[in-house]
């Protein structure tokens, strides 16, 4: 029983890591722009596909490349390409709306539609057959008594923590992070202080999309299956995790992701798996009803 619990704790940590990494991307963009970037889940999906094509491309051209080298190369190229995608979306769709001073909801709808384009464009171009992500890292299994841990699981959990620490450092300790926080504090006064708002926002999108790329590659490695709609469900749920943590707060998004991971894995461990969504969403609803701003969110004061 105990080993079952520990085994599931590891699974939950792995599953929660994905939610956390995606939730952090939502949180970054939301924290700066007050924009729910609904396309973020689909950026994650696209990054998984990009990684797939990068891996097949590299293995076709460079024969006999070692696993870790292939992984590192894929990671860098995928992060760059995904960041390009995110920035492109920002430049083409969000920035013009922002400069027109459009209502916040219109930007949200645009994000939603961009997500649809990514999903269905993928389906239209690549077809409905689901692809299998290649194993690029050699698999190592550690047995700790009855509990088995793979190197991939450790890699996923470790990278989510590293990513969190990195973001926390950037947002709290660097000038760039300070200007990000400043923009979310007052969008109109900040340009007057000589802060290049658009550059900072572009940087935010680069960070967020690169994060999604990390999650995308690791997801492909961990679960192998890819399909065009996988980003939608994970994206919505990661967003929910970010909100439960208190959206706009990096610590909140990180912990919220893990919380959702734990709820889902442990519900599946003890109940039929079809109850997974039901239980996690009911818990979410209760949390938001009792504490409307999430665990770490701070209620914004409203001016009359």
């Amino acid at each position: 029983m105990l080993s079952y619990l520990i085994q599931n704790t590891f699974n939950a940590l792995q599953w929660g890591s994905f939610y956390s990494m995606i939730a952090l991307g939502y949180c970054l963009v939301y924290g700066v722009l007050r924009l729910i970037n609904f396309a973020h889940g689909d950026i994650f999906m696209t990054s998984c596909y990009i990684a797939f094509f990068v891996v097949t491309g590299i293995t076709a051209h460079i024969a006999g490349i070692s696993g870790p080298a292939l992984f590192a190369l894929t990671l860098i190229i995928t992060m760059a390409l995904t960041a390009l995608l995110g920035v492109g979306m920002e430049r083409i769709a969000y920035r013009p709306l922002r400069e027109k001073g459009a209502n916040r909801l219109y930007v949200v709808i645009t994000a939603l539609m961009l997500g649809f384009i990514l999903e269905n464009g993928n389906l239209a171009l690549l077809g409905a057959s689901s692809r299998r992500f290649p194993d690029i890292l050699p698999k190592i299994i550690w047995k700790l008594g009855p509990v088995t841990v793979t190197n991939l699981k450790v890699l996923v959990i470790a990278s989510s923590i590293v990513v969190f620490a990195f973001l926390q450092f950037i947002v709290q300790r660097t000038v760039l992070g300070m200007s990000m926080r400043a923009i979310s504090y007052d969008k109109f006064a900040i340009p007057l202080m000589g802060i290049p708002v658009n550059a900072v926002i572009t940087f935010t999108f680069i960070l967020g999309s690169a994060l999604a790329a990390v999650a995308g590659i690791l997801f492909g490695l961990s679960y192998q299956v890819m399909d065009p709609y996988m980003g939608m469900i994970i994206g919505w749920k990661a967003f929910i995790a970010a909100v439960v943590g208190g959206i706009g707060d990096i610590k909140g998004a990180f912990l919220g992701g893990f919380m959702l991971g734990f709820i889902e894995i442990f519900v599946t461990a003890f109940f039929p798996s079809s109850y997974k969504d039901l239980v996690s969403f009911v818990i979410l609803l209760v949390i938001l009803t009792v504490k409307p701003t999430g665990f770490f969110g701070v209620a914004r004061s409203t001016k009359i």
Binding site: L105, T110, M113, A124, L288, T289, I304
Partner: protein
């Protein structure tokens, strides 16, 4: 930006010309005017049903018209919350699911002899014609109850957090339905055509087609009446500024409750019609995608414009039908179009305006209800 709608509109629409029409008009012309729109609507429905009976409108066109009607109900009811009240609800399809399931189960156990729940019909088929609208309304009522899971948190929670609650509500409803074996779980529920067959056996006209049109017309009428009443003004006051509205003695919690329950009730009616149009429902057809479709229609038409919602529901449904041969590319082109609309006409087709303000002549047929108010006389000196 929103100054043209809502409370300020009360002031700008009371014009001497408009007043003269009503005060100066004889009683008979007033009555005629009142009967004109219902008369035309009834005539159109009658003609449509007759054409359908004689096979001039084939089943395909009928299905499209039914879908348009259902989408009109969905879009204009979502517009109450997302447009007039200014919240961001993205779980409208969940309430549609509740209505669809409740009315399907009712019609199955009452009128379908070989259903999967009771295996015999409780009532004689002769009653089906009378009870069909009541069954649909019962679905609406159930959705109203279900909407409390969103309405009650909305008292304290706002904005993005409320949006999450609505998404969660949608997921909760569909996954709950997925876990109830009595209603078929994920396989879905079918056989609702039993009640339509029973009705056609008595009077051979396309009943669901007729009722879709009637419910769509009633929805438009009800929303129009609601939004031009004091209650409706209270709902749109929340959009402008909730705190100020509360200071001005608007009971915001009550308004939110009314807006959410009314809007979901209408969605439930749409769900009931949808179930009886197709004869088959499953939880997957009421997912977040369906909710997004309604959202698209609302924002395409313009937030806070009833005629905009009606127009966009019609345009959107027809567009989907026209693009059917494109298959999956349809879902690339439609979002792309919407993005372009957001870029170049972010307020949607109509903005917050109604058709009557674009074509003022239409006021003769559709008088603004605001005009019927007695002009208020300002006290000497007035308020400065």
């Amino acid at each position: 930006m929103y100054i043209t709608a809502g409370i300020p509109a009360t002031v700008c629409r009371i014009r001497p010309g408009g007043q003269g029409n009503i005060i100066g008009g004889a009683f008979m012309t007033n009555l005629k005017k009142k009967l004109l729109v219902p008369g035309i609507t009834a005539a159109v429905m009658l003609i449509a049903v007759l054409l359908a009976c004689f096979g001039i409108i084939n089943d395909y066109i009928q299905t499209i018209i039914m879908t348009v009607c259902i989408n009109i109900i969905m879009a204009s009811s979502l517009n109450i919350v997302n447009g007039y009240m200014g919240e961001f609800s993205c779980g409208h399809a969940g309430f549609m699911a509740v209505g669809a399931y409740v009315s399907s189960v009712l019609s199955l156990i009452l009128f379908c002899p070989d259903n999967s729940i009771t295996h015999y019909a409780l009532l004689p088929p002769e009653l089906s014609v009378l009870l069909f609208p009541l069954i649909i309304l019962a679905g609406g009522l159930a959705s109203m109850l279900a909407s409390l899971i969103v309405a009650i948190p909305s008292f304290k929670t706002r904005d993005d957090y409320l949006a999450i609650i609505t998404i969660a509500a949608n997921y909760i409803i569909t996954t709950a339905l997925n876990n109830i074996p009595a209603v078929g779980a994920s396989r879905g529920l079918m056989g609702m055509t039993g009640i339509t067959d029973a009705m056609s056996a008595i009077v051979p006209i396309p009943w669901v087609f007729l009722w879709s049109m009637i419910f769509a017309a009633l929805t438009i009428l009800m929303i129009h009446r609601l939004m031009s009443s004091t209650l409706g003004k209270g709902i749109s006051a929340i959009r402008y500024d909730e705190i100020s509205a509360e200071i001005m003695s608007v009971d915001t919690n009550n308004m939110k409750l009314i807006a959410f329950t009314f809007s979901s009730g209408l969605a439930g009616i749409a769900g009931g019609l949808f179930a009886h149009e197709l004869g088959f429902i499953n939880p997957a057809s009421f997912g977040i995608l369906k909710s997004t479709e309604s959202l698209v229609m609302v924002y395409l038409g313009g937030m806070g414009s009833l005629s905009g919602s009606v127009l966009s529901a019609t345009v959107f449904t027809c567009l989907l039908e026209i693009m059917r041969p494109l298959q999956i590319f349809k879902w690339v082109i439609i979002p792309l179009m919407l993005i372009l609309i957001m870029q170049f006409r972010p307020e949607g087709l109509m903005g917050a305006r109604e058709l009557t303000s674009v074509f003022p002549k239409l006021r003769k047929i559709f008088p603004d209800r605001v005009l019927e108010q007695k002009p208020r006389k300002l006290a000497a000196g007035g308020v400065k």
